[in-house]
């Protein structure tokens, strides 16, 4: 069944149909939230709150074909609320990334995915969220979620890739 038809039914009061949307997006959304907050319990709570808010405010959703971006906007706001409440935003500077890289590169001698995951984790939030969102959203959708031009999204991703590249060292140097 087409997504917009399901949304139409939910708007008309058939709330049970909302379960189809939950089923469709829950894993992707959970993954995005989980990597954003790094705690399974918190991620579950935020996911639940996201779907509840989406259900409650489904009548405010007007843009056809942009449901995924709309859902991600709610999730992102919930993640931001979480950070605001717990004051966990610690933007990391280049130096921190360098230090981290030196130690892990020496210890491993080769690139491991865990190491990449740590590097993503340590990126400034605006760059990290673009990488996380790009796993499930197109660049246009990310621009809609972040309410910024497509060029800004690409620039943020480019900066993030360059930082990771720098941390990975000579093998990946330009």
């Amino acid at each position: 069944m087409q997504e917009e038809l399901i949304i139409y039914d939910v708007k008309k009061g058939n709330k049970e149909k909302f379960g189809l949307l939950v089923e469709k997006y829950q894993d992707a959304l959970f993954t995005f939230i989980f990597y954003s907050v790094k705690d399974e319990g918190t991620a579950k709570d935020i996911l639940q709150e996201t779907f509840l808010k989406a259900l409650k405010e489904i009548n405010n959703y007007k843009e056809e074909g942009k449901f995924k971006a709309w859902l991600w906007t709610i999730a992102r706001n919930k993640v931001m609320d979480f950070y605001r409440k717990s004051s966990k935003i610690v933007p990391l500077e280049e130096e921190t990334l360098k230090q981290h890289d030196e130690t892990s590169k020496n210890a491993l001698g080769q690139i491991e995915l865990k190491h990449i995951q740590n590097l993503i984790e340590e990126l400034p939030n605006e760059q990290k969220e673009v990488i996380l969102m790009r796993q499930y959203l197109s660049f246009k959708e990310i621009a809609a979620v972040l309410d910024c031009p497509l060029g800004t999204v690409l620039a943020r991703l480019n900066r993030a890739i360059k930082k990771i590249q720098k941390s990975l060292g000579e093998d990946y140097a330009a």
């Binding site: 989980f34 639940q48 140097a173």
Partner: protein, 141 residues
Amino acid sequence: MPHNKKYEEQALLYAYGELDDSEEMDFLDHLRECKACQNIIKITALTSAALPEHKAPVLNLQESEEPSWFFKIKEFFSKMKLSRPVLIGGAAACCVAVLVSVLYPRQTQNEGYMYFADSIYAQVGNIETDIDTLLEEINSL
């Protein structure tokens, strides 16, 4: 063509399968020779591989569908978009109103109790006088 910002963006778009067909041929020609763009594509692939999908836990979307009264009040006031001084003033006025409504009836109630006590004392006094007269009558007998 040497590596430049345009190719960097195209490398990102290509890595995620979003590069326009019209630009793809030109970019692929560049990519063959450009190590920087090859590395961008390698790193985007690594970042995707480093972020595997997690299965969402079972959700209970029923449990908090009915918001608490506190949440309803908070929601009501947040919809009114009142400024902080107005909210504080309103809250203070409410507190004063509650205090007055609680304390004033209590005061009048206390006054009522005192009238009641006085009347009892008066009646007791009358009874005492009656007993005294009775005792006097008994003594005179």
